[in-house]
């Protein structure tokens, strides 16, 4: 698995992607600064800022950019064959791709979310909640997007549409449909750890953790099946 990981990580960590995510991270941090410096800002505003700019935007977009490219780029440029045509279990290739994606995306996410939550200046529980929620959702999104990238052409574009429509709009409308978005579960984790009042459709931390772990497992399983059935060029 380490050999596959070493190929994938070098492919993923391109300057273009790092610059793009870095720029988006700076914007997210600036949102935190803006909220903090607003005259009548409250801890509820801080929560909304982390939720909207972090968990709904920065975390899924960062996961999408790196995870969809982990195998997707190799599919597109026809180099997947160099990993696939080896006596390696497909689940190991999936885990190597997920590991490579997380190696790049998690530091970006954690650094940005840490800076944002510290700048918002609520309390330690809020910072911890932000980091836990961001980590859990980055892993879950990445597990989904690795397979998505391997299967769907132009996965980045379709992934952005999914993030905007499903994780953005549907998750915000406050109906039961929100429970089909991953964002609700990371948001619920943040609420419970930071001690923010739960909204109507929020779930408990146990349920949120179980759902995020289950989504990760399903993502890994689907990617493995996609690799097993792939037509490799």
């Amino acid at each position: 698995m380490s050999a596959a990981y070493s190929i994938l990580i070098r492919t993923l960590a391109s300057r273009g992607r790092l610059y793009a995510i870095g720029a988006l991270g700076v914007l997210v941090v600036l949102v935190g600064v803006a909220v903090r410096t607003a005259e009548d800002s409250s801890s509820a505003d801080a929560f909304d800022a982390v939720n909207a700019a972090g968990l709904a935007l920065f975390v899924p977009v960062t996961a999408l950019v790196f995870a969809s490219a982990a195998l997707g780029e190799m599919v597109e440029d026809n180099t997947l064959v160099y990993l696939w045509a080896r006596p390696v279990r497909r689940v190991e290739l999936t885990l190597a791709a997920l590991g490579a994606a997380l190696t790049v995306s998690l530091p970006c996410v954690l650094a940005t979310m840490l800076a944002m939550s510290l700048l918002l200046g609520v309390d330690a529980a809020f910072v911890v909640g932000t980091l836990v929620a961001a980590t859990a959702s980055t892993v879950a999104y990445s597990a989904l997007f690795v397979g998505f990238g391997a299967r769907v052409p132009r996965a980045l574009v379709w992934g952005l549409v999914y993030i905007a429509v499903w994780e953005g709009i549907v998750a915000s409308v406050g109906s039961g449909l929100a429970r089909t978005s991953l964002r609700l579960y990371s948001e619920s984790l943040l609420r419970s750890i930071a001690g923010v009042d739960p909204e109507r459709f929020a779930v408990g931390p146990g349920v949120a953790a179980i759902v995020l772990i289950a989504v990760t497992a399903v993502g890994i399983a689907l990617t493995t099946v996609i690799l097993e059935r792939a037509d490799v060029a």
């Binding site: 050999a3 070493s6 190929i7 070098r10 180099t79 160099y82 006596p87 390696v88 497909r90 060029a233």
Partner: protein, 321 residues
């Protein structure tokens, strides 16, 4: 059982009634063949289905119909077969950010080769690339990339090697060395299946040839047999002459033409005779003397169907007639 040991007992690659289609496009049609140890050249024009056949043989894609066995195993589902199988894919693309040594070392590790780095260095050396080269593959020429791919395919010394156009991009000297390498591997008992669309290349690969055209098996057997088939087919040639009718009559009268079509001479251009002949050597031998006898001046004698595509078409038609 060790793959090499198994090869002595049975054909290494068995393709039975394989067809492959992509929506409306039939890439392979009912192909059956067996391939044993040694070097086998897979010959066919571009778009004939060679790469599709090699992909099916390696399990990179499933056949729409039929079955494939490599060393008695099913390549599409038996992942462990890759321990005994090496592939040089057709595409030029390689992971651009890696050095050649990193790439081949990763290949060796994925194959479970002990001393992966040393093995990778030795195989880069074998294909005459510098293992110490610190440049990434992005800066490599087509020929260098091709050699990196060969090193990565050979690094675990598999008993079966499938090479899709392995000589593409190589200069003449590198081609000679690469062919020599394949022949050596074949002589050692490896099964090497290498494709090409160039007849002369395949001739130098070794004695056995499989010809694919229009997705179908056109011919298979020793190279000299295929060559004879190609030479003995009906040929069509065009003669330019100032007396086409007289020359045509002389050719038919002498029995060296099975059919003629005459175009009369004009003020600007000489006439022409398009000749079908079953014995091209006898025709070439007789035509000058017949022209003298007919008092005809010969301006040109040109084959009309000597390109490989025509040869392949003929072989397909002959096989399925």
């Amino acid at each position: 059982m060790n793959g090499r040991a198994q090869m002595n007992a049975e054909p290494v690659i068995v393709v039975e009634g394989v067809s492959k289609w992509f929506r409306d496009l039939v890439a392979l049609s009912d192909v059956s063949l067996t391939i044993g140890p040694g070097v086998t050249g897979l010959l066919g024009p571009n778009g004939a289905g060679k790469s599709t056949l090699l992909r099916v043989v390696c399990g990179l894609t499933a056949p729409s119909k039929g079955s494939v066995r490599v060393l008695g195993r099913r390549p599409r589902v038996d992942r462990e077969l890759w321990r005994d199988l090496g592939l040089v894919p057709q595409q030029e693309a390689l992971p651009e950010q890696l050095t050649a040594l990193t790439f081949v070392t990763a290949a060796a590790r994925l194959q479970g080769v002990a001393g992966a780095r040393e093995a990778a260095a030795a195989h880069l050396d074998l294909v005459q690339l510098d293992p110490g080269d610190t440049r990434t593959l992005r800066s490599y020429s087509k020929g260098m990339r091709q050699r990196v791919k060969v090193a990565a395919a050979l690094v675990h010394r598999p008993p079966v090697m499938v090479l899709d156009e392995p000589l593409n991009g190589l200069d003449p000297a590198q081609r000679v060395r690469m062919i020599e390498l394949f022949r050596t591997l074949g002589a050692e008992g490896h099964c090497v299946l290498a494709s090409s669309h160039i007849l002369d290349e395949v001739e130098r690969f070794g004695s056995r040839v499989v010809v694919i055209a229009e997705g179908r098996l056109a011919a298979e057997g020793p190279f000299h047999q295929i060559r004879e088939l190609m030479d003995d087919r009906p040929h069509r040639l065009r003669l330019r002459t100032d007396r086409p009718r007289e020359l045509a009559a002389a050719l038919v009268g002498a029995g060296v033409a099975s059919g003629v079509a005459v175009s009369a001479a004009t003020n600007d251009e000489p006439g022409s005779v398009v000749v079908d002949t079953l014995e091209v050597a006898a025709f070439r031998h007789a035509v000058a003397a017949l022209a003298v006898r007919a008092d005809a001046r010969l301006y040109e004698l040109a084959p009309l169907d000597d390109d490989l595509d025509s040869v392949f078409r003929y072989l397909v038609e002959r096989r399925y007639r």
